[in-house]
Symmetry: C2
Subunit: 252 residues, 2 copies
């Protein structure tokens, strides 16, 4: 018998979940890349106490929407999320994709309102970190304060990378860079750097990279013809990493 919750539309319903026994920051396999990074185990326990776990989400469900009151930041525990803004004329700008261990929602701090929306690209689980508790804890734990400053700063440098990509690079280079970024983030999580399933659609990729679906699709076809990668719908296999780097026009 499925314990499937009543159709909740878009809102999150917190219910205990069978998979959710005794997960905590101390035993989470993501703790070396997530917020607890660099904390002592005593400190991890304190952080753990403020975190609300178990937010299972279905594909398409919103975690928060642009304009919602800001209360928490979130860590992805499984699945993948996208953050996006809707422009005045109704088009969608994807501002980031978030994989397990990554933090989202920090853009809401400045005005106490979420500046973007976040939605699950597939079945996902997130940890909610109430910001007021995080602030208090940060004031007491210098290494947590430092780490959170660093996380925000990383978000800034990543956004600036994207700005450069959008401003200066061709369609080929943009798509190649995204594939390399996903590959690198996968290996950080001890997953295959060369074979993975894209959680997002071609439209999402286009909306992230400032391209149309058609262009994204054509770039994938081109890469396949050049035997740089194998594309089977959302399944990606990178055949030639140096070739991909060359296409992305990056050193290293």
């Amino acid at each position: 018998m499925t314990v499937r919750l009543a159709d909740t539309g878009d809102r999150i319903v917190l219910k205990p979940c069978i998979h959710d026994y005794q997960v905590n920051c101390g035993n989470c396999r993501l703790n070396s890349i997530c917020l607890p990074l660099a904390l002592e185990s005593d400190d991890i326990e304190q952080l753990d106490n403020i975190i609300e776990r178990s937010k299972p989400m279905q594909k398409g469900q919103h975690l928060y929407r642009e304009g919602d009151g800001f209360k928490s930041v979130f860590a992805v525990r499984s699945g993948a999320m996208k953050a996006y803004k809707t422009t005045d004329d109704g088009r969608e700008q994807v501002t980031g994709f978030y994989f397990p261990g990554e933090i989202l929602g920090m853009d809401g701090i400045s005005n106490n309102l979420h500046a973007s929306s976040a939605k699950a690209l597939e079945t996902a689980a997130v940890c909610e970190i109430p910001f007021s508790s995080l602030e208090k804890l940060s004031a007491m734990m210098p290494s947590l304060q430092r780490h959170f400053f660093q996380l925000m700063s990383r978000e800034i440098t990543e956004d600036q990378q994207l700005i450069t990509l959008l401003s200066k690079n061709s369609a080929d280079e943009r798509v190649a860079s995204l594939m390399l970024s996903i590959s690198a983030r996968n290996s950080k999580r001890k997953l295959s750097a060369t074979q993975f399933r894209l959680p997002m659609s071609r439209v999402d990729i286009g909306n992230y990279l400032g391209l149309t679906v058609e262009t994204v699709s054509r770039v994938f076809s081109r890469m396949q013809k050049l035997e740089i990668l194998q594309v089977d719908n959302k399944e990606i296999k990178i055949l030639d990493i140096p070739g991909l780097q060359k296409m992305a026009n990056v050193t290293g």
Copy 2:
């Protein structure tokens, strides 16, 4: 004549400057939009003690360069700065323009290295805020910690605005948006919202907006022909704000 000399131990020796007598956060006319915002006067004094003032800079001079060790963030006191990254193939991506009261350098926190370079667009003065002191003070002053989180978050939302602009908007819309942004920031500083001198070159504008000089120049000509603004080299006079907003394609 009182010449204030910062007693900073083994820090960089700062040349005394005739304009620099007794400037402090408490009496700075920018304090309502800068870092001291929302601090009690006792707290302002403490913040004031960690800040090193008087860094007069000449046009073209670097404040820091990409790859430099990160030690401080900076507040612009007068003049204007640009932050930029150099791409692998040697081109320049301007990531932001900074006017008096605005903070730059926060992208260096994540790796303890500056992720971009910063250079003066004209004669300028900045306040240096050593980050380690700021961290310590933040842990003790909740409102300062909060405010600095907000400043970083604002940098994120602004970068995301630029991402959207680059990804979705035409040349006309990009230039119009920049003019509106400068106009709004001017009025925040109690300067004219409709008449100002651009501190940056057309090349810088292009490198910021992802356009070539020629395109920027053509957009200005077009705006002039439409009597939306009057352009005399770097002197700008906005004649028709609603028209400019319409051109920028923004609501409000």
